[in-house]
Symmetry: C2
Subunit: 223 residues, 2 copies
Amino acid sequence: MARATKPESRERVRDAERSRELILDAAEHLFAEHGYEETSLSDVGKRAGVSRATPGYFFGSKAELHRAVLERCFADVRRAVREGKARALASGQTPDVILAGAVADYSDFVAARPNFVRLIEREALSDRTVLEGMPLRLAVWQEALAAFRQELGLDISDTSEAAHLLLSLVALTWFPIVHGGTFLKAVGLDPQAPDFAEQRRRHITTLLLGALRERAGNTSTWS
Amino acid sequence: MARATKPESRERVRDAERSRELILDAAEHLFAEHGYEETSLSDVGKRAGVSRATPGYFFGSKAELHRAVLERCFADVRRAVREGKARALASGQTPDVILAGAVADYSDFVAARPNFVRLIEREALSDRTVLEGMPLRLAVWQEALAAFRQELGLDISDTSEAAHLLLSLVALTWFPIVHGGTFLKAVGLDPQAPDFAEQRRRHITTLLLGALRERAGNTSTWS
DNA sequence: GTTAACTTGCTGGCTGACAAGCAAGTTTCT
DNA sequence: AGAAACTTGCTTGTCAGCCAGCAAGTTAAC
């Protein structure tokens, strides 16, 4: 089983692990880009460079492949959340600075992985119930919320304050990914423009910082 | 066949206009709820109380029906935008108050018509090009942007400021509609709770007002 | 160290389900 | 009677899942 007994032989060896990954990559791209229903296992096979039937062979069914893609996606998100949290806590900065850093971190993350946003967005819109039976996804958001609270020094008394703040961060960050070609263009914003990302990041930071300062008789002044 | 030979004719009268509306209503619901691909013309016919082929008879094709649904949807949005603009300008209030009112108005609108949000969101995610050939949708957003700018007294110098503000309003307002059952639940927010809508509205208002005041050396103080 | 028995990776053909669109009805209205 | 408003039947196409098979490897027997 342990892969790679490859002494010479640089040719195409049969490699289940590699095939699985190729299929997952292909499926992630196609599911994110065109949606679950619009993607056939044939398409996945073609893009992965394997045959029509191979995705089914490895993952049992289309639904199972889909679940595997989502699972891997949430695992990546969790990793990013943990890295961000570690960085924020290690910095020892004020909540203001930490919040600004979180905005930048998360903006970068979704910009680097737009497929994740699209995948989750599609899933939320669909009436599929895959997400229900996925404890990982629940854990990820709860972990993010806890980290957010801790980083910003929000006590537990006002329980929903941090949730609303996180919700807003996510909403503001995701929107341009999904509606970049439609809404943004319509109101004269070009998400491809070199300064758009920076401009947007600034705007989001302004919004959230205002709310954070307003929240309590905060002593820190910034500006 | 089923037809129930009506002697008196309390029965289904033939009314093309009414049938069209019933079909549009059914299609809007199904497209929004389950998506375009997952909805068959049979489903639409069944929900509209007509036969399998009637949607095709009136609209020519599934794609045309879809386009008709979207067109009607944007027409409704435009009506709402115009009403909101008229109300705002008639009020003669300060930008702060007007912005708060716009948040309330728009929150109510999307809460009352979650299907519109889902339809547009699905359309943005899909790789269909229907929206391209729909001047109405472009006009609606541009009209909304112009109204926003005028209401808030944002001059034309900083052209993207109003766009970012509107973008944020839309992003913040739409998100709970789409992710109410997934993300919101995960972070402990219940979009069905009686006070959620109000709480959310307040939060959004706080965010946007902060940004509006920050934008310029604004003289108005509020709080 | 060759070969035979067996496993794993992967493929193409087949089938049953379902959907879109058309064509040829049938019913109702005027 | 004729057109408009529907409906039923049919054709064609697509796709998921199953199956039988083959080829590349692996283990074991000799």
